[in-house]
Symmetry: C2
């Protein structure tokens, strides 16, 4: 069978019909609907002669044995958030299926090719994203914490996993699946507005941003809004306001895709008749360069301390979470760039703001690259998520070409 | 009996002992504890020969008949907020009691002198402040709305009033009490930091600020904190942050005591991974000059619209409440200034940020003035509210001298 990109679109709609409803995709990991989607994928791959296996973390593998044991991996995730979109994760699984079909048709490939459907990328039910890929990558170090996790109904993560044949304590045994892996390829919707704004269907991803997340608390003094002169105030909100404007300047002067976001503010007492005593805000900073990310964080901290001093208020920082930038493989980035140019004429290199399974695989030392296809209006994690069909078709062609180039590269050693 | 300012302090402590607890004053209007405080006051005035009456709004009047029916009123409120301070309201009732004692001792005054204990100044239980004074002043126009009010336990305002002998529909009949009133005097703690910062015990109040209260809503677009470049964002929080800083500039350049306060901010979705889509804030602006207040409001609106345009977000304003500035009587302000200088050496003229019963009386056309005594740390509406005893003593002397001067002025026509 020659490659048929339009079939990918048909199959994605078939999957959405089977596992979605009027509110969007409902393939939340560790649920019956998710298992139904996995069964659907199993049925699609069966005629191709690729062997199916499910690893210790619940990841679903389809292996097309090649002349060499060295393996090129194509990975995605069929799980979605509740009321999610039809493309986030599923696109690459279904596009990868089409590439596998084309390869299987052509006989034994020079190297082994494996399609992997990672378990629980979204972490929608238990708040732990990248479950299956981090287990395989050897970076899952939080089992003790995971053992205590429950979903909204009070069901423990370990019990939910058990119902799908996965033992939490053994999940990290999935690491053996990456032995022999020589390259990892992932196609994903951008989930942002960059490609659409540049009128480009596709781009190659340089890596995933490093992230610094903090909660910052400014403390001033509550005071009557009528009886307290302006020069006698210690207004905690002023610290937040100045920091919100400053982080934009920090991002702008850092450049290279730097982003800083103040996502929420909580004021206390928060009433119209009082100066704000305590103002808490959430800060998210991201950059592809670890040094620049550290500098952005330092700049924001110093600025907040200067504002606190000038406003006669106090400030304290608490880290919520952070992760280092994860860079993809230079040679594979070049191959993906070539593939995009051949199919779509023009390519663009961009960082990924969101994390992806590909970041976990890259952390494990496997040469990795991702391709982004344009998202309409940058929307994702909503049923409004969409991509033009012609762009989906181009994306399948790019993944196919990238797979061919990568197989050739790995086969050549 | 000569004036004994120290007795006022003793009686204030007695009242606090009787009607407060370890959390502060508990004389919430329309409760048994409040009625107990009124009974206590009744007992204190009884020996003086002043006639007691309770008007249609529940205001408690003590009348010392003079040679003329023209009346000088001294007013305060014995009700408090829950967990309130020992001085807010009660100070003037108890100081007025001491002045009444001194006057009664001296025989029939040239004009009638009346001490009024206004009902429900704080509005702590039903959220309607200045109840009794607005009824007497003829400015209570919200009976329909008041009829629907309930306290936290679901008890209707009208029912609670009924238990204290007040019919809501007849409350405005209290207006007849102001017939013949020629002057109104009120002593109050400042509830702000101005006199303390100037190291002055007392000041004369020029009037109460006009107030403009608005809720302002900026609407942008939620967007992923990782995948949305800075220049593609429509961040509603930026509008709030810029307005918070701008209102301080507006107050500063307006001067003459102008205050602007952003008391609360609510952000949606308010999560660390998203640009803020909607940011609502509360704005309170106050000035003693109606024109300047209107200009401050106009400046803030124009600024918010400029910010919205520059940030590619929307902005809408909704008025929560407003009141015009209420100016006190020039001649009485001069008399109060004299009295303060005679007693304490130095006076200061200042506006009142908070509203007071005096503002209602002034709106009714009665020549009115207030005297403020220093508040320690500007605290009020808390058990931490306090004023030095020596300053309380000076305050009673000032009220007494001001009463003497006012009586002489009214008697002279």
């Amino acid at each position: 069978m020659p490659l048929d990109p339009s079939r990918t679109v048909v199959e994605l709609r078939e999957l959405q019909e089977l596992t979605g409803d009027e509110n969007g995709a409902q393939r939340v990991a560790w649920t019956d609907t998710w298992e139904q989607a996995r069964e659907w994928l199993r049925g699609k791959v069966a005629p191709l002669g690729a062997e199916e296996s499910v690893d210790a973390a619940g990841n679903q593998w389809f292996t097309l044995r090649g002349a060499s044991d060295k393996a090129v991996l194509i990975g995605g995730h069929i799980d979605s958030v509740p009321n999610g979109g039809w493309l986030d994760g599923a696109l690459n699984v279904v596009a990868g299926l089409e590439v596998l079909r084309r390869l299987a048709e052509e006989g034994t490939p020079p190297v082994t090719v494996r399609l992997v459907n990672w378990a629980d990328e979204e972490g929608a039910r238990f708040g732990r994203s990248l479950f299956g890929s981090s287990a395989a990558a050897g970076s899952m170090t939080d089992q003790d914490e995971l053992r205590a996790r429950k979903d909204a109904a009070g069901i423990a993560l370990a019990d939910a996993l058990g119902q799908h044949g996965v033992e939490l304590d053994r999940a990290v045994d999935a690491a053996r699946e990456l032995e022999g892996a020589a390259a990892y390829l992932e196609l994903h919707i951008e989930q942002g507005p960059v490609l659409e704004s540049m009128d480009l269907p596709l781009g190659v991803v340089l890596g995933t941003f490093g992230v610094e997340r903090h909660q910052i608390r400014f403390r001033g003094q509550a005071a009557h809004a009528g009886s307290t002169p302006m020069d006698k105030r210690r207004d905690a909100l002023a610290g937040v306001a100045r920091l919100e404007l400053e982080i934009r300047e920090i991002a702008k002067r850092t450049g290279d895709g730097a982003v800083c976001t103040m996502g929420g503010v909580v004021t206390k007492p928060g009433i119209v008749t009082s100066v704000v005593e305590t103002a808490e805000c959430l800060l998210d900073q991201r950059h592809l360069d670890a040094g620049k990310l550290a500098a952005m964080l330092g700049d924001a901290k110093r600025a907040s301390e200067r504002f606190a001093e000038e406003e006669d208020i106090a400030v304290e920082w608490e880290r919520i979470w952070n992760i280092e930038p994860i860079l993809f493989d230079d040679a594979l980035v070049d191959l993906a760039d070539e593939a995009i140019k051949e199919v779509a004429g023009k390519s663009h290199r961009l960082p990924s703001g969101p994390l992806h399974d590909a970041a976990e695989v890259a952390r494990a030392g496997i040469p990795t690259v991702m391709v982004f296809v344009q998202s309409l209006r940058g929307l994702s994690h909503t049923k409004l998520e969409d991509t033009k069909e012609e762009h989906l078709g181009l994306a399948v062609q790019v993944l196919d070409r990238l797979a061919t180039k990568t197989i050739a590269r790995v086969a050549a050693g």
